[in-house]
Structure formats: structure tokens, C-alpha cells
């Protein structure tokens, strides 16, 4: 669950070493600014800005493409219909289908905004270990209980998926064939799910006991472990300035 390309060694690019709190604020600021853009002439600036962030972070391209794979499927499914169902100025007519200028513009706008935001999120979050990102969220005011729940989900998701893997192997070894006559599988899948829920519940009791034994809830509030230096603040100021320029372009062009 640790980000694959995250490293905070002094030799790593600045984006990796940037104070995660500043990084989160910067990401949110850019995401909101990008979603504010509706002017097609501002889109190239947005794309250029995103590519610059990707380039300076030296985030592995193959990893980025892998991260974008599933979100892309969702958004492409959504925007594929836009040129056909929205707008009124015909651009291309073929058979009974008409592609409209406004629909195409809307699809390009939505797709560009989406890819720019998701790419920035993948790069900025992927260059900080997940645990550090959650700690940074906590330092920015995320309630402790929510941070603890997130961490526990991350920790036990792997344990439960290992349980599920073992149970499925045990089922197969005793002749269970998945996806052949799926309706016949339903009772077995229901038992499997029920067992997993029960195991999860029992495990949660054990985990809670272990947490109580080691004083969960007794720790004094820790000082934030993050300190923003001049470079961190300057980088955030730069992001603020870029957001301002984008908004100005949006209004002026």
C-alpha cells in the first residue's frame, strides 16, 4: 500500500520531498481551479501545467498509465455519448447519427479536466507514501477516528483478501467450479461472504482487545511531525499563482 515511486531521499525530485500538507493543499487548489475552467482556449494551458508537474516529478510513465487505466474507462464511457446527445450545431452526419459541435466541445472539456485532475492526483499522491498522506490529512484537521479507521481498513483489507483467497482455493479443492452455472454458485457465494463477515467481526474484536491492551486512546495528542520550509511554502505560493493565472485566463479569453 506504500506508493511505489514514493521516496523522500535528498536526491529525489522536489515533488517527492514536498511537505505532504502543502502538496495536499496544492492538489485541492489545482483540482478546484481545473474544474472551474470552461473556456476551451484555457485547456492547453491546463494540459501544459499538468505535463510540467509530471515531468518535474519524474513519475514513471508506465505506472501513471496503469493508474489512469480504470478511471479512464469510467470517464470514456460517460463522455462517449455527449457529442451525440448534447448540442444543436451539426458537425458530422453519418447514417442516423449526428455529432454536434457543442457536444464534442463538452466531451473534450470534461475529458481534459478529468484527465488533468486524475493525473495530478496520481502524481502528487503517488510521490508520498500513503501513510504519510493520511498523517498529513490528520495534521490538516481530519479527525483522528477517521484517520484510524482509514489505516485499519488499509491494514486489514490485505488480511481479508488473503482469507478470501485461501477460502476460494479450499472451495476449488473440494470441487467447487466458479462461474459454471452461476445461479448454482449463489448459495456457496452467500456462505463465503457470510464467513468472511463473521471472520472480520471476530477479528475486529481481537484487534480491539489488542488496541486496548496497548493503550488505544490514551496517547497524548502528538505535535504535527511536518515542518514546512521556505521551499515548501514557495512551491505552494507558485501553485496559488498558477491557479490565479488560470482563473484570469478563464475570465479574460
Amino acid at each position: 500500500m506504500i506508493a511505489h515511486s514514493a521516496t523522500d531521499s535528498p536526491a529525489a525530485p522536489f515533488v517527492h520531498r514536498w511537505d505532504p500538507r502543502m502538496k495536499l493543499i496544492g492538489l485541492l487548489l489545482l483540482a478546484f481551479t481545473f474544474s472551474f475552467v470552461t473556456n476551451p482556449r484555457v485547456l492547453p494551458v491546463m494540459i501544459a501545467l499538468t505535463l510540467v508537474v509530471v515531468a518535474v516529478s519524474r513519475y514513471p510513465l508506465n505506472l501513471l498509465l496503469r493508474r489512469l487505466r480504470y478511471p479512464s474507462l469510467v470517464i470514456l464511457g460517460l463522455i462517449a455519448l455527449l457529442p451525440f446527445i448534447s448540442g444543436f450545431t451539426p458537425l458530422v452526419e453519418w447514417g442516423g447519427l449526428t455529432i454536434t459541435r457543442e457536444g464534442l466541445q463538452a466531451a473534450i472539456l470534461v475529458a481534459t479536466r478529468f484527465f488533468c485532475i486524475v493525473t495530478l492526483a496520481a502524481v502528487l499522491l503517488g510521490t508520498t507514501p500513503l501513510l504519510r498522506t493520511i498523517t498529513a490529512m490528520q495534521a490538516l484537521g481530519l479527525p483522528s477516528i477517521m484517520a484510524d479507521m482509514t489505516l485499519l481498513v488499509i491494514r486489514y483489507l490485505e488480511v481479508l483478501s488473503a482469507d478470501l483467497r485461501r477460502m476460494r482455493i479450499a472451495m476449488r479443492l473440494r470441487g467447487h467450479a466458479e462461474q459454471r452455472r452461476p445461479w448454482r454458485n449463489l448459495p456457496t457465494l452467500a456462505w463465503l461472504t457470510g464467513s468472511l463477515i463473521l471472520r472480520g467481526y471476530e477479528r475486529s474484536q481481537g484487534v480491539y482487545n489488542a488496541m486496548r491492551l496497548r493503550g488505544y486512546g490514551h496517547a497524548p495528542i502528538r505535535q504535527s511531525e511536518f515542518t514546512a520550509n521556505r521551499k515548501d511554502l514557495l512551491a505552494l505560493a507558485g501553485i496559488c499563482a498558477l491557479s490565479g493565472i488560470l482563473i484570469w485566463l478563464e475570465l479574460a479569453l
Partner: protein
């Protein structure tokens, strides 16, 4: 052990029942001296884990008293003097990374970050797991998890350490490493195990629990050597205590 020092653990007329299972523990009386290493043996369902949860303050006795170093154990309170190493390490290691998990107890005790770091470093060195410090817990092997779980308990500098089936699921090498750790330990140890060879090697005293009652209490070799007693309570005399007419290779 001197009889004048106050016991590390004292159970007086301890009884416990679950709502759906009465008399899980039935009038237990037990005194364990500081620094003693006691093995708790008995068949499954004898009440060993329940007893551990009571001594740790997780469960509340139905009646009777539990004293740890002369202090009454109050259920629901945080008592870093006593720690329990769970049978299932995954239950105990709830933090995402090894360092964070070992640091959890000391942080709960209100130590400064410097003190926490020193303790974590120190216990990871003691258990020989320094190289695991930054690893995510879910990437550890079962043996590594057990060692880290012990480190997490040791980091609290407890006076009493309770182990529930510490060698279950471990390979030979990790089991040997665990035995070494247990033998080096200067805390009071209470170890529940079906691994009677481990009990024989580590513990100086054994308590045999069956159906919620203490049925035998004495020196390890004496109890484990008593074949009739062991069989009567679902146990087996350890192989190493069986006299061999001829030397053999197993």
C-alpha cells in the same frame, strides 16, 4: 523465589462466566512470583485465553480478585505493566508499518517522541528485527509477525508478559529464536502452549488447567513427567521425557 516478596500475579477465588457459557473459570487461586516463568497447559477450551484476558483487564471477573504487583486489575483501564502477545499476530499488529506498531504502546504511555524512537530501536535490536522497521506489516511472514508482535509488547517495558500459543504456526528456526527470546526475558512470563517441549525448555513451573479449574501446579518436569495426570487431562508426556532404552535418531 522468596516467599516474602509480593507476587507478580495473584488470583484469589477467581470466577468467570460468559453469558452463554457458565463456569469458564471456577474459583482459581494462583500466585506467581516476580521473574517466574510459568507454563499454562490444558486442553482447548480449558479457559487459558479467558484467564489471560482477565489478567490483562480486558474481561471483568464474575467474582474474585486479580492483583498484579499488589494492584487490583481494573477492567477497561490501561495497564502497561501487563502485556499479552496474541495467538494470531494479525490481530495484534494493527498499525500499517512495523515501526508504527512497535511505537504504539510507548506513545500511548505518553512518552516523548525521542523516548519512543529509542525504545523502538532498542526492542527491534533485542528481537533482531531492525531491518523490518520500515516494512508494511502485511508484507511480513508469520514468523516475522510474531517477532514484531513480541517487540511491540516489549516496547512497553511490562513487568508481566503473557504469551498465548507463542510457537503456533512458526517454522523451526523462528521457534528456536522465540525460545531464545523467552529464556533471555527477565519479566514474569505466563505462557500458554500446546508445544510442551517449549514449555519444558522455558518454564520453571507449570499450571495445568482443565474445565476452568487448576488441576495441577508444580515444577515443570514433575508435572509433565506424570503420564497418568497428563493423559487424564488430554495431554501427552513430552517425547524428550520418555526414557529411551536405545539411542535413536528421532
Amino acid at each position: 523465589m522468596s516467599q516474602t516478596t509480593s507476587p507478580a500475579i495473584a488470583l484469589n477465588e477467581l470466577c468467570f462466566s460468559y453469558p452463554d457459557k457458565p463456569h469458564v473459570l471456577d474459583h482459581l487461586d494462583l500466585h506467581i512470583a516476580p521473574g517466574e516463568r510459568v507454563g499454562l497447559i490444558g486442553p482447548n477450551g480449558a479457559g487459558k485465553t479467558t484467564l489471560f484476558l482477565l489478567i490483562s483487564g480486558i474481561l471483568k471477573p464474575t467474582s474474585g480478585k486479580i492483583l498484579v504487583h499488589d494492584k487490583n486489575v481494573v477492567s477497561g483501564t490501561f495497564n502497561p505493566q501487563v502485556t499479552l502477545v496474541f495467538q494470531k499476530s494479525d490481530d495484534q499488529l494493527f498499525c500499517p508499518s512495523v515501526w508504527e506498531d512497535v511505537a504504539f504502546g510507548p506513545r500511548s504511555m505518553g512518552l516523548s517522541e525521542d523516548q519512543v524512537a529509542r525504545r523502538v530501536q532498542n526492542v527491534l535490536t533485542i528481537v533482531g528485527a531492525q531491518e523490518l522497521a520500515q516494512r508494511p506489516v502485511h508484507h511480513l511472514s508469520e514468523g516475522e509477525k510474531r517477532i514484531v508482535a513480541i517487540a511491540g509488547a516489549l516496547a512497553m517495558h511490562p513487568q508481566v508478559m503473557i504469551y498465548d500459543e507463542p510457537s503456533a504456526g512458526l517454522d523451526i528456526r523462528t521457534r528456536r529464536r522465540l525460545i531464545g527470546l523467552l529464556k533471555q526475558s527477565d519479566q514474569t512470563l505466563l505462557i500458554a502452549s500446546h508445544d510442551l517441549e517449549l514449555v519444558l525448555e522455558v518454564c520453571t513451573r507449570v499450571v495445568l488447567l482443565d474445565q476452568g479449574r487448576i488441576v495441577a501446579d508444580g515444577p515443570t518436569k514433575t508435572i509433565l513427567n506424570d503420564e497418568d495426570l497428563m493423559i487424564a487431562h488430554g495431554q501427552e508426556k513430552p517425547h524428550s521425557l520418555i526414557p529411551h532404552a536405545l539411542p535413536h535418531n528421532h
